[in-house]
């Protein structure tokens, strides 16, 4: 029997870990039902659907949605909807591109030997280890410099001028996502026996068919994990997005940050709760997909 199993120290440590991991999330969700405009103190739940709701002891407001007052409030906020749209557009586009590039890089690093291979491998870690703020500044400088030159050289004026926006945010996201995808896929490829590909070719499949019928299905779980990691990184990226966004490309993290500087209403909590729910469902879905693939079917 494991001697540490029932030790009170282990139980205490486990409780603490779970507490610090999940308490903030629980509080965040709880406060999204707060009957207060200022989101610093819990004033109790909004209880009634049709009654006028009392806020902060004195403020009274109509609340047709009852406990979900802040969620209704949120759905009427066009800025939030636009930011959510931007965030998802950027995350989806960047994830697809980065997953393709990252998977190809991982395959190349696994199966070919070339002179600069050690350098290529090492260069994967650089975007991961250097501070995000440094990368953000670097990317911003690159974009503004080259856009300046290009605008001048091509004589672009007005709306056709190259400027920061969804495009630049997407490109920067791809740039920092690729190494993560590559490393995750590489880990998956580590145990990949090349005799599977040889078997496919032996049975008459050319390189292309071999990849799509054998290699890709076998590494798909790795590719999906890489894509999911990249997707979540993109969803909540603040620093790089902060440097590279422009008018009309505000993402949710940038928007929330903007809100915090004015007034923190439980709307922010409602937004975060929805966000957590979406990510949670996405992860569960992926887990389910992967376990279904791994489980033998009768």
């Amino acid at each position: 029997m494991n001697p540490f199993k029932r030790s009170p120290l282990v139980i205490a440590a486990t409780t603490l870990v779970y507490f610090f991991l999940y308490a903030p999330i629980v509080i965040l969700v709880l406060y999204s039902f707060n009957a207060s405009r200022a989101n610093v103190k819990f004033e109790g739940f909004i209880t009634s659907f049709s009654d006028r709701v009392q806020m902060d002891g004195s403020f009274v407001e109509a609340s047709p949605c009852g406990p979900f007052h802040w969620y209704c409030d949120l759905s009427k906020n066009n800025d939030v909807i636009e930011a959510a749209g931007n965030t998802l557009t950027i995350a989806f586009t960047a994830t697809i591109v980065a997953t393709v590039i990252g998977t190809m890089a991982a395959l190349a690093l696994q199966r070919y030997d070339f002179k600069i291979k050690p350098f290529s491998q090492l260069s994967l870690y650089i975007p991961i280890v250097i501070p995000e703020i440094v990368m953000g500044i670097g990317i911003l400088t690159l974009f503004s410099q080259s856009f300046g030159w290009l605008n001048q050289a091509l004589n672009l004026t007005g709306d056709s001028r190259l400027a920061l926006g969804i495009g630049t945010v997407t490109v920067s996201h791809i740039a920092f996502m690729v190494p993560f995808v590559t490393l995750v896929v590489q880990a998956r490829l580590q145990g990949f026996d090349k005799s599977y590909e040889e078997a496919a070719m032996d049975l008459g499949a050319n390189e292309w068919t071999t990849f799509w019928r054998v290699t890709f299905p076998m590494i798909l779980p790795g590719v999906l994990s890489g894509a999911l990691l990249a997707f979540t990184l993109s969803l909540d990226d603040f620093v790089i997005t902060f440097f590279t966004n422009g008018p009309g490309s505000t993402t949710l993290p940038i928007y929330v940050y903007g809100l915090l500087r004015r007034i923190i209403t439980p709307q922010v909590n409602a937004l975060s709760t929805v966000w957590i729910a979406i990510v949670f469902i996405a992860v569960l879905l992926l887990q389910w997909l992967q376990s279904r693939e791994a489980k033998p079917s009768h």
Partner: protein, 371 residues
């Protein structure tokens, strides 16, 4: 069939560059001709070049020099998917994301066969390896032996000219392995397809093969039938690698036709009437070998022609046989005796330091080149 030979390797060399930058020849000027319908084995320890040779026939590697012919056609850089050979891999390499049926059907799909044709042939192939009813299972739901059968069915369903098998039974336990050996051999005889079988297990090679190529250090040491390889090994390596041999150092004293007289200094004796497998010259230093089961312990207590006195070092009872290790004038010998009579009395077995008389017949004694 356009050619007498199913597969021919003509002076094939395969060089690899090691990670340290050295160039090594994994296959070093190998020439062999594998006949149609033959069960052919490549036998050797790891690194002898047998797997590399097989991979060159399959098309996974290309020769650095020389040429591989399949059905008389030079293969050059023909990719594996354009060769009429199929492989059973050591690891089986069954596609884990496909069912047994899909695995076996894969090769036929690649040929563009229609659904009913595929269905018919897959069913027949699975029947052949006794896996009917397992169509919808996944590879990981099968036992090692069953996976092995799927791998065989998947390769054979394509009706190749040649089936290549890379240590296909290596992962199975001994009993199952023996069963599969017989099954594979029966399958080969039934189908009449050429099998090229790579193994490091000499017993396996001797059991199954029509001919064996014994390989070492990238070269073919001997290519012959199992009987010839065991009874007339061409050199000391083969005599030592296939089965067991006792060796003496000796020198050719005289030669006549195909018999020779050799002097063995350590025993201070001459052996006459020795058969020879290749040309030697008078005065040449040679190795003289005798198989352990071909030396007999006799009742006669005197020394004489072909009789030697030796001291028992140890005796090991292994059920069907007894292995006796002896000291003969400072040379360590091994003898195998069959336990033909059931007995329990300890005194009937050889004991340490017991002196016995050995006899070996000239026709069981071979003269071999010194390596």
């Amino acid at each position: 069939m356009t050619s007498e030979f199913a597969v021919e390797m003509r002076d094939v060399v395969k060089r690899f560059v090691t990670p340290e930058g050295h160039e090594i020849a994994a296959v070093d000027h190998v020439t062999m001709q594998i006949k149609n319908g033959e069960f052919f084995s490549m036998l050797g320890s790891s690194g002898c070049g047998k797997t590399t040779s097989l991979r060159m026939i399959a098309g996974f590697e290309w020769p650095s020099e020389g040429e591989v012919f399949i059905e008389g056609r030079p293969m050059g850089h023909t990719p594996p998917f354009q060769r009429k050979v199929n492989t059973v891999f050591q690891s089986y390499a069954l596609f884990q994301h496909m069912t047994v049926y899909q695995n076996v059907a894969f090769g036929l799909e690649m040929e563009g066969a229609d659904k009913s044709e595929i269905d018919k042939r897959v069913k027949r192939a699975l029947e052949m390896v006794q896996l009917t009813g397992m169509e919808r299972r996944r590879p990981r739901q099968l036992s090692g032996g069953q996976q092995q059968r799927v791998a065989v069915a998947r390769a054979l369903v394509k009706t190749p000219d040649v089936l290549l098998l890379d240590e296909p039974l290596g992962a199975l336990d001994l009993k199952l392995r023996k069963e599969m050996q017989l099954e594979l051999k029966a399958l080969q005889q039934q189908l009449g397809i050429t099998f090229i079988y790579v193994t490091h297990d000499q017993e396996e090679a001797l059991t199954m093969s029509d001919r064996i190529a014994v390989m070492s250090k990238g070269r073919v040491q001997q290519l012959a039938t199992p009987v010839e390889i065991y009874e007339r090994p061409v050199n000391k390596f083969v005599a030592d690698f296939i089965g067991e041999s006792n060796f003496f150092e000796g020198r050719i004293k005289s030669i006549s036709k195909d018999e020779a007289v050799a002097h063995i200094p350590a025993l201070n004796t001459e052996l006459k009437g020795l058969p020879m497998s290749r040309d030697f010259v008078k005065g040449e230093d040679v190795a003289i070998s005798v198989r352990p089961e071909k030396i007999r312990i006799v009742e006669n207590k005197t020394k004489g022609d072909g009789l030697f006195m030796a001291k028992v070092l140890t005796s090991v009872y292994i059920g069907s046989d007894t292995h006796v290790y002896l000291d003969l004038e400072g040379i360590r010998l091994k003898i195998m005796e069959q336990n033909r009579i059931s007995r329990l009395d300890p005194s009937s077995f050889y004991s340490k330091d017991q002196v016995v008389t050995l006899m070996f017949m000239p026709e069981n004694t071979l003269i071999l080149k010194k390596d």
